[in-house]
Symmetry: none
Subunit: 383 residues, 2 copies
C-alpha cells in the first residue's frame, strides 16, 4: 500500500489539470492500464478528514467508530510510543500574572531551546505509581503523557482558550475519569511551583486529553503480518496502533523509504509506505512542488514493482489541493493492481480517469477488503 | 439549489435521448463543463419516491427516518401552515343511504363550489379546546386539520375503501392517540348531523391522519439562513418544515420565480427554487412539453448565474419520465458548481453524462454536505 499523503488535488483554474494529472508519471500511468481505478471517500460525503481519520479509513477502520483524540495525535506526531495505559494531552507553556491570570496563552512563543530546558524540569516531577513524560515539540508546544493504571480520557481542558482568567483545573466528565483528573491536577500544581520564576513560560495549559482507541490489529483483522515505512511520527504512530511493525528507515529521502521496503521485503506480507511530501507541498499551496513530488514517487515506482507484489494499492489518505492550501473533502484517486483485477486498459492515473474507473467512488474502508480478495485471502461467504 | 421537479427521464425509444438530453440547453451544458456531475438516489435503489420523500432527501434528510404522512401532505399541498399541534387528514365527501351504508365514496364527484359551501358549514362545528379547519380542495376532496394539545397520529382511517358498509369510527392504534380518536369521532358525529340533508354529499370519510415530523431546521443542521421560492403549496410546505422562509412570489411564471430570487438575493445565504412544470408534463406523458419546460429553465439560468452564487446545485427531487407518465425510481441528474469542484470539462448536462460524472451515483442526502463543503462551511474532522 503506497500512500501519497494528500494525493487528491484540484486544477489551478476551471478546465485545467490537477497536480496528479499535470505530473509526468509514465510508470503510474502504465500501471493504471493494468489496474482497477476509483476514488475513495475517507469519512463521508463533504467531510474533510484530518490525518488520523484519513489513515484509519484507508487502513480499513471506520473513522467514525474509532477516534484518535488530539492529545494522542500530538504524542504520535513526535513518535512517542504510546501504550494502552497512556493518557496524552497537547501542552502549551503560557504566561500568567502575579494573580495567576493568563496573559499569553503561548508564552510569547518561547524558543524551542527554552522549551526543551523547561520540559526537562517538568519531567523531574514525581507522582506515586505514575510515569510522566513531557516531550518538547516546537516553541511553546509540548506533549504531555501520563502513564498509570485505570486512567480514562473524558476530561475537560485546562486551557480556557482566552486570557484574563486563570488556567482551569481538569474536571472528570465521567466518574471513571476521577483518578486521571486527580493525578493531572496534582501534576499541574507541581508544574506551577517548578515554573514560578520562569516568566514568560511560568505556567502550562493542557487540552485534548486522549488515550489511544483500541483497534483490532492487522494480524487480527486481516491475518496480515504488516510493516510500516514512514518518515513522520504521526503516521508511524497510526501504523503502530493497527499493529504494524514500524521499520527503521536509514535516511530521510523517498529513496531511503523504498530501500527499506526492498530490505525487509521477505519478512512481512503487507507493507504500508507513506509519502509525506505530496501533502506538505499541497498545504504550502505549491502546485509545482506537489507535481514534482508525485513525479519523484513515479520515478521510484519500478523499485516497488520489481519486487512483484501480488497486490499493489496506490492511493492517498485524503486530498490536499494546492489551490486550497489545506486538506479537503474531495474523493481521493486510488488504483488496485493484481493479476485478478478488471484492468481499465487505459494508461492514465488521475482524478478524472479514477472518477470513471471500475471501482467507482467508494468508501476508503472498502480498499483493504478488495485488496485482500485480490490476494485470494478472503474465503467464500456462505455455501 | 435549483430543483426541476421530476427532472430525470427516459428516451421515447431504446437508444434515443431523454427529455433532458433532447432539450437545447446551452447554459446548463456550459455550466456542466465547470461543474461536477452525478446521479442522485432519493430513497433507495429501485424505490419511486413521492414528492415528500424526494424533497426531504435532496434537502439532506433521510426520508426513511422522517416521514410526512398523507394527511400532512394534503394540508401542505393547499399551503395550509401546519403547526406542531396540528393533526391533518385527507377528507372526502361521500354518499350514504338511509341505513348509513356508503353508496359512493366520492359523492358523485360534486362540484368544487358545493364542496366549498359544505366546507364552510363543517367549519362551524365547535369542539371544546380545539380548532378545526376544513379546507376545500377539488370536487369531493378536502383537508381536515384538528388543532389541540396532546394529539397523536397513530389512528385508523374512517374510509373503509369500499361501499355497502358504514364509515368506520376512528380507532387509536396506540394508547397515546386516544385523545385524538375521541375528538375526531366527536367531529364526525357533528358532521353527520350537519350534512344529513345534503345528499349526495351527506357524510365524510377521513384517512391518512398525520402530524408533521419534527426535523432539525436548516439553521440548526447547516447553519444556513434559508429561503424557498415555489409556486405550489406542497413544496412551500416541505420547505417551511425544514425551517426555510417561504418567499412571496408575485405571479405564477418561472420568470416571476427568478425575479423573486434576485429581489431577496442579499437577505439569505441559501435559496431553494422549485420548478413544477417539468414534473407536470412528465405526469401528463408530454415528452415535448417537458423538453420545453427544461429549455425555459435554461433560458432563465443566466438570471441566476449573474448573481454569482458560491455554490450552485441543479437537480431534481425524483425522475418523472414522460413515457411512464409517473414518478419513477431512476436516479436523478445533478450538478454541483463551485470554484472548488473538480470540473468535468465537457459541456453536457444529461442522464448519460451524469452517470459518468465524478460525483458518482450517490444518495440524494449527500448533496447538501458536498455543497456545504464547497462553500467552505464544514470544519475538518479529526486531527
Amino acid at each position: 500500500m503506497l500512500i501519497m499523503d494528500g494525493l487528491g488535488g484540484l486544477p489551478r483554474k476551471s478546465g485545467g489539470k490537477t497536480e496528479l494529472e499535470t505530473a509526468h508519471i509514465p510508470n503510474l500511468d502504465a500501471l493504471a492500464a493494468m489496474s482497477s481505478l476509483g476514488l475513495t471517500i475517507p469519512v463521508a460525503a463533504g467531510i474533510t478528514p484530518g490525518s488520523g481519520p484519513g489513515h484509519l479509513a484507508i487502513f480499513g477502520y471506520d473513522p467514525l467508530q474509532y477516534e484518535i483524540g488530539r492529545g494522542a495525535m500530538e504524542a504520535l506526531g513526535i513518535d512517542f510510543e504510546m501504550g494502552p495505559d497512556d493518557l496524552a494531552a497537547r501542552g502549551n507553556f503560557c504566561s500568567v500574572d502575579s494573580n495567576g491570570m493568563i496573559t499569553d496563552r503561548r508564552a510569547g512563543r518561547i524558543d524551542t531551546n527554552i522549551n526543551q530546558e523547561l520540559a526537562r524540569l517538568l519531567s523531574t516531577i514525581k507522582i506515586d505509581d505514575t510515569e510522566i513524560f513531557i516531550k518538547p515539540i516546537k516553541e511553546h508546544r509540548f506533549a504531555f503523557i501520563l502513564r498509570a493504571d485505570g486512567l480514562h480520557d473524558t476530561l475537560s481542558d485546562t486551557d480556557p482558550q482566552k486570557i484574563g482568567i486563570p488556567p482551569q483545573p481538569v474536571r472528570a466528565l465521567e466518574p471513571k475519569s476521577e483518578k486521571a483528573a486527580v493525578l493531572v491536577n496534582q501534576f499541574i500544581n507541581s508544574a506551577q511551583k517548578v515554573l514560578i520564576n520562569k516568566h514568560p513560560a511560568n505556567m502550562i495549559l493542557l487540552r485534548g486529553f486522549a488515550k489511544l482507541p483500541v483497534l483490532p490489529t492487522y494480524q487480527e483483522k486481516y491475518g496480515l503480518n504488516a510493516a510500516a515505512i514512514a518518515l513522520n511520527g504521526m503516521y508511524r504512530g497510526v501504523a503502530r496502533l493497527v499493529g504494524m511493525k514500524v521499520l527503521v528507515v536509514n535516511g530521510q529521502t523517498l529513496n531511503d523509504e523504498f530501500i527499506t521496503l526492498e530490505k525487509y521485503w521477505n519478512e512481512y506480507d503487507f507493507f504500508y509506505l507513506h509519502i509525506k511530501k505530496t501533502d506538505t507541498f499541497g498545504e504550502l499551496g505549491d502546485f509545482e512542488g506537489k507535481v514534482k513530488a508525485i513525479e519523484e514517487v513515479d520515478g521510484l515506482l519500478p523499485c516497488l514493482t520489481a519486487l512483484k507484489p501480488d497486490v499493489l494499492i496506490v492511493g492517498g489518505d485524503h486530498s490536499t489541493p494546492a489551490v486550497l492550501k489545506s486538506h479537503s473533502w474531495h474523493p481521493v484517486p486510488v488504483l488496485i493492481y493484481s493479476p485478478f483485477v478488471r484492468p481499465e486498459g487505459f494508461p492514465e492515473f488521475g482524478e478524472h480517469a479514477c472518477s470513471r474507473g471500475s471501482l467507482g467512488t467508494i468508501p476508503a474502508t472498502h480498499i483493504m477488503p478488495i485488496a485482500l480478495a485480490n490476494a485470494l485471502r478472503i474465503a467464500k461467504y456462505g455455501a
